[in-house]
């Protein structure tokens, strides 16, 4: 089923079409959210929130491009928002506690278990500023063109390209030692 058909069916309140969209994009969006946030809890919440909002807006939703790109942008926006909230909340918490806390993305008690590649990727990306991370993940994993990323983020194409270039440069040293 194509994106457009899925959305059309979703508009007609086809519950299973929504289910289909979810199943089709779930893993990709979760990986994107984990890569952006390095936090499975935020990733869970971001993908959850985006699908709830997507279902909510399905009646008025008009797909103008790729559904995957649209959902990826929504997830990126939501991750940014959740991370901002989390950062604000943790300011009051013990700095030492925050620094010493490491995420075990393989923890089987979690709802999402990540493989080693994703853990490595997520750890490497976590060392970049969020803006650079966002552009790299949307471009490489989301397969979005710089022009589309620029439009969705409300910034210029040159800024997007700059963030991508700086981000990739920083990753070089990180990955050379870890891959």
């Amino acid at each position: 089923m194509t994106d457009r058909l899925s959305v059309m069916r979703c508009k007609q309140e086809s519950r299973d079409s929504l289910h289909n969209i979810y199943e089709q994009y779930r893993d990709s969006l979760l990986i994107l959210a984990i890569a952006l946030s390095h936090d499975v809890n935020i990733a869970e919440d971001a993908v959850h929130d985006v699908f709830v909002a997507f279902a909510q807006n399905s009646e008025n939703f008009k797909l103008t491009g790729s559904l995957k790109a649209y959902l990826a942008t929504c997830v990126a926006n939501r991750v940014r928002d959740l991370m901002r909230k989390k950062q604000s909340r943790t300011k009051a918490a013990s700095l030492q506690q925050n620094c010493s806390k490491t995420l075990d993305l393989r923890d089987p008690g979690r709802l999402i278990v990540c493989n080693e590649e994703l853990q490595l990727l997520s750890s490497a990306l976590a060392r970049l500023p969020y803006e650079q991370r966002e552009v790299i993940v949307l471009h490489i994993h989301g397969q979005m063109r710089f022009r589309i990323i620029a439009k969705s983020l409300g910034i210029s194409v040159n800024t997007v390209k700059g963030r991508y270039r700086y981000g990739i440069r920083k990753l070089r040293s990180i990955l050379d030692s870890e891959i």
């Binding site: 893993d27 990986i31 959850h48 279902a55 999402i112 994703l118």
Partner: protein
């Protein structure tokens, strides 16, 4: 290899294993949102959700209305300690409930969209809300569940079945407000009151301020000191993305009369009317389903889900008692295990049939058989605990994944459909109802259970039925068949993907403390 290529390679090799509990949470909440558009908008995936709501021509007025209703009628509930200002503000709401009509003119300023103005009327006693702007008008009567929308560009009036409940404390206003300003911002409002005099009239000014991190929402409501009725309302708040600030300003009047129909709002009488109200037959069918659902008021339902080869993927045990419910979910995964589980469906089903009571007793009292998640629905909120290495507790609105017999036997179908007959319904003596993009087949010989639902992609077939002790029928085995289609809609294949076995027992007494949120919290201690 370049860094970009390395990243690409890592992404390509990245994989996750997702617990179906997460799927359940997301899908159920999304489906709830799909069923209740404009009602459960919880988050901002769009750059600006206020803009999204306001930009939508049809919802523009409705959004403004509920925001104002929410501010006046609901917002005081979010305040902290019940100080004098909060108590006084609560009285404002009471006075509005007693006016014949409230009329409000409203202007909205949003940096991302052009300014807009509209006016609306509220009739608290008869639960009528109406409004108009340049783009159209709406008139909603919550008592007879009619919603009329006039679109000036199309020159049409469309009549819909009204889904939402209108209630001072019901969810839509709260949800709208929450969607636009964020729940955190509204959870700790401070209310202050001071007196002012204007043109010889003594006024009370209520200032409500909500703060979250560096974000602020301000509400200023001016009421008459004598009659307690709002004169004006101002809202200024940053949206959740902090990208822009929304300003709203409204002035209230209290006329004796208001619009009794959409045509009283200046809508031309020669517009094309599109009637989307349900047919009487469909409405009757929906009412029948509702009555049979009500027969099941206090019961325990156990649902065993899994693939057709008898592997159990999840076991749900739900206690339902009127408006309250408790749900537990039990799992086992391929890579690790915790909780309680029978891997073989046949063994599990035999065990349940043999000793339903001891099974329930065991999962309630034996720590080794504890569920991995429990939801408690107290009639208003769903309290959800998750066990595991990082136990968590959440309190949410909405039923979420709590399952009841109605969902399996008498799905809630909005009465907008039409009764139909086809070969399948004739051969099996069933009543067909086409609604919400699906075909429903009800069996009049078995308490009108919906024995088949087909939406073109997924077919839900009731394969077996059983009866409770008091003789009520319920579906005891349901098959889900997935139809794969090509882009032109032609069927490529169909496959049974899931089988659900259901056991229901009517009960009059529930285990002590089952519906106590405090007991639920102890589960993760």
């Amino acid at each position: 290899m370049s860094s970009a290529e390395k990243i690409k390679k890592l992404f390509a090799k990245s994989a996750i294993t997702v617990n179906s509990n997460l799927d359940d949470r997301i899908i159920n909440d999304a489906l709830t949102a799909l069923d209740k558009p404009e009602k459960t908008q919880l988050v901002s995936s769009e750059p600006n959700i206020c803009g999204t709501i306001i930009k939508s021509r049809i919802t523009k007025l409705a959004a403004a209305v509920v925001i104002i209703i929410a501010v006046i009628m609901v917002i005081y509930q979010f305040g902290g300690a019940p100080d004098m200002a909060s108590i006084a503000f609560a009285q404002v709401r009471e006075t509005i409930n007693n006016v014949p009509w409230m009329h409000l003119t409203l202007s909205v300023k949003d940096e991302e969209i052009s300014d807009s103005a509209c006016e609306y009327w509220l009739m608290p006693e008869r639960k009528i809300v109406a409004g108009r702007s340049n783009s159209g008008a709406f008139w909603r009567n919550y008592l007879n569940r009619q919603r009329k929308i006039y679109e000036s560009a199309a020159n049409t009036v469309t009549i819909y079945y009204e889904r939402d409940e209108f209630s001072n404390e019901n969810e839509p206003p709260w949800n709208y407000l929450s969607a636009i300003f964020g729940p955190e911002l509204l959870s700790d409002l401070s209310i202050s009151r001071h007196a002012e005099e204007s043109q010889g009239e003594l006024l009370n000014v209520y200032e409500l301020v909500g703060k979250e991190d560096d974000r602020t929402a301000r509400f200023r409501i001016v009421t008459g000191a004598d009659d307690n009725l709002p004169r004006s309302i101002k809202i200024e708040a940053e949206d959740m993305q902090r990208r822009n600030t929304v300003f709203m300003e409204g002035f209230c009047h209290y006329p004796d009369n208001g619009p009794e129909d959409i045509y009283d709002l200046g809508v031309p009488k020669d517009v094309t009317v599109i009637n989307n109200l349900p047919t009487m037959e469909a409405k009757e069918m929906v009412d029948i389903c509702s009555r049979y659902r009500e027969n099941f008021s206090s019961y325990i339902i156990i649902v065993i889900g899994g693939d057709p080869s008898s592997v159990v993927s999840g076991v749900y045990v739900n206690y339902i008692d009127g408006n309250v419910a408790k749900a537990g979910r039990f799992f086992k995964y391929l890579h690790f295990s915790y909780g309680f589980m029978f891997a073989d469906r046949n063994l599990f089903e035999k065990e349940i049939e043999k000793d339903f009571d001891s099974f329930l007793h065991r999962i309630e009292h034996d720590d080794s058989h504890r569920p991995d998640s429990i939801s408690l629905w107290d009639g208003k909120y769903r309290h959800l605990v998750r066990r595991g290495k990082e136990p968590s507790y959440r309190k949410e609105r909405g039923l979420g994944s709590i399952r009841d017999i109605g969902g399996y036997a008498w799905p809630i179908v909005l009465p907008m459909g039409k009764i139909f007959e086809d070969e399948y319904s004739e051969q099996n003596n069933l009543i067909g109802l086409k609604a919400m993009g699906s075909l429903f087949y009800f069996d009049p010989e078995h308490d009108y259970i919906c024995v088949k639902r087909n939406d073109g992609r997924l077919i839900r077939d009731v394969r077996e039925m059983a009866r409770t002790e008091n003789g009520s029928w319920y579906p005891s085995r349901i098959e889900l068949t997935l139809i794969e289609r090509d882009i032109d809609g032609a069927e490529i294949s169909r496959q049974v993907t899931n089988v659900e076995t259901i056991f229901v027992k009517m009960v009059s007494e529930f285990p002590e403390g089952t519906f106590d949120p405090d007991n639920l919290l102890k589960a993760i201690e």
